[in-house]
Chain length 382, copies 2
């Protein structure tokens, strides 16, 4: 096992009705005015906004609205929100939504206290020295952002989807109420399943140091995601399945399964970020296309681990059968496995490959993910 430091100070308040105590959490942190970030106006129609407003009011916390955050969240919106946060002198940021809203909230929290353009923080021109305190009520379980210190934002001008990571960006409190996730569409449920699996397998397959304990924990997460997704597709209101799905999502990217692993990369995310940045496909849908194609290209580099995956997750013997089983499972639950299902055609490949090569430089893996390799993977996904 490699040396590591593990530190995760986010408080998770998990369960039914927990959104009602958001005001109390903010008050305990001395917050007076909060920037309330959200996506569509749906939270006003379904009553969540009213619950949150009431809880904030009960604890004398003022709110400044910042709605309209889209999935694959955009840099321009972050910049506008930072201007708003500064003008209104908010002393915290509250995300009510899924990973896109929360990632935006993190970028806003860091950018508000950064003396320069927030994109500097994504491209290494500046570093995060502080951030407004971040709180969130999670309405979609997938990204793990509720218990980590990272955020991914798309620069729509440069078509770059890049990340920040800073100890200042751990949420102070994340509220996870699986009941709030019961109305998620069937599509977003299966995309989320693909996203959680992607978070779990990047290190599992690519790490040069991957302890068996960690592989076992990854398998616990993937087994849970597979089982609960199937349950939820039949019965979306199964609370326990929704809760296990959500908590598995959190565990997949809170640092635990990566503690002590090393030499890993995020190739599936790296490739998918280009699909999102160029074609605005849902992140999880892009991942379920990339993963099988990447696995088919990669498995010979780590055959024992691919055989382990095949055996423990699907009860089949060979690496190839394990990959086929995962692809078949994606097909079965209805998340895409082909670029064509995302509306991406042969004619789009050249631009996609260029974008992926840019990401490969950014991720420091340009020596492995050469033009030939990226072409091979993307072509096999057509």
């Amino acid at each position: 096992m490699d040396n590591f430091t593990f530190f995760n100070p986010t408080k998770i308040d998990f369960g039914k009705g927990k959104e009602q105590v958001i005001g109390q959490h903010l008050a305990e942190h001395g917050i007076k005015t909060v920037l309330l970030c959200y996506g569509s106006e749906r939270i006003k129609r379904d009553g969540l906004f009213a619950v949150v407003s009431k809880s904030l009011a009960a604890h004398r916390v003022e709110l400044v609205e910042c709605g309209g955050i889209v999935s694959n969240p955009l840099l321009s919106k972050i910049r506008d929100a930072i201007t708003l946060a500064r003008a209104t002198h908010v002393d915290a940021v509250l995300s009510v939504g899924g990973g896109s809203v929360l990632d935006s909230a993190k970028a806003i929290a860091a950018g508000t206290l950064y003396d320069g353009d927030v994109w500097d923080l994504f491209i290494g021109k500046g570093s995060i020295k502080a951030a407004l305190p971040i709180f969130d009520i999670l309405t979609l379980a997938a990204t793990g952002s509720e218990m980590n210190c990272g955020a991914v934002i798309t620069n729509e001008e440069t078509k770059e989807k890049f990340a920040i990571q800073s100890v200042h960006c751990f949420p102070k409190v994340s509220i996870i109420n699986p009941e709030l996730m019961q109305t998620i569409s069937r599509d977003y449920l299966v995309y989320s399943a693909a996203d959680i699996i992607a978070h779990s397998i990047e290190g599992y397959f690519t790490a040069s140091v991957q302890p068996k304990f960690h592989s076992r924990m990854v398998e616990a997460i993937i087994g849970t995601v597979i089982e609960t997704t199937e349950t939820l597709l039949i019965n979306p209101s199964d609370y326990d399945a929704r809760a296990e799905f959500a908590w598995a999502a959190t565990q997949a990217l809170n640092g635990l399964i990566y503690s002590g692993t090393s030499g890993f990369s995020y190739p599936n995310h790296m490739i998918e970020h280009s699909l999102s940045a160029l074609f605005n496909v849902p992140h999880g849908a892009g991942l379920s296309v990339v993963i099988p194609a990447w696995m088919k290209w990669y498995h010979g580099r780590n055959p024992a681990q691919f055989e382990r995956f095949a055996r423990t997750i699907f009860g089949v013997a060979t690496a190839e059968d394990g990959i086929a089983a995962l692809e078949a499972w994606f097909d079965k639950i209805g998340t895409p496995t082909r670029l064509s299902q995302l509306g991406i055609q042969q004619a789009d490949l050249a631009a996609t490959i260029e974008n992926v090569l840019g990401n490969a430089s950014y991720f420091g893996v340009a020596d492995i993910y050469t033009r030939d390799v990226v072409t091979t993977i993307l072509t096999s996904a057509l």
Copy 2:
């Protein structure tokens, strides 16, 4: 899944040589003088004390020595240490040792800032409102104390082994260097294995709400402990096995596998605490005696989970076969499975039963663990 709050702010600094940076961690927290708690003088002979002293000196942190803490740590020692801590105006407590030293450090840290006798905090006469900051260098992996906020102390006058738990008792920083654990005796290795398994199974078998995801994580921990213990018995200097063993120990009792579970109790610990309190047996050795006896009595109350355990951990079909397999594994690695191996005879049973009944009241499970039940369990362990 039940509602829960998960919060674990301990920073883990894990790996080779990490004890050398303890001074830096203390300095980052503004510590000027620290009470250095330890057990035997072994840390002076093996060089660890010198490494720690040097690191503290390099960061201008003064140290006050508090050695001589024994396993099954004693209240009298805690009281003396609190007097010392107050007299020397230390502003933190540093444990260098295993769970007994660390649990003592926690009790000292809380007791120093409590205006009254520290035992009040164990019996509900007082509550922990603050504690000195706690740091530790772990030299034995078993109790999980390095990443939780609990501590267990024996009152040698009343023969009670009771616990405290407070958010103020999370260590600020825990240093886990598996290299420091390579010289642990064969006996203490196998006792530790039993302790970790005990932490894992209490909730697994007794919880009325036990999500499958959590069962999977428990199985990941137990599988790791079984495999790495066997490796370490053959090759005590296998670093990776030592590291996985240690990290599994931490995960077994840092709150993760209990998050969202409910209705559980700690019957094996409850019974074992009487053995430790009365006969000063090593905690893990007591547990490996209690566990099979308790399982034989209990399994009919949760047959599906016992069958799951049998199948996933030992690849056998029935609850009885799973219990037998665990007992056989304890025998194989050389941790006791009979009270007689601990020097406890039939004649000692009456006093033991009385003590366990006292614990059952303390744990709030006196309705289940009646005199008849406790007699049945202990008699079958003779």
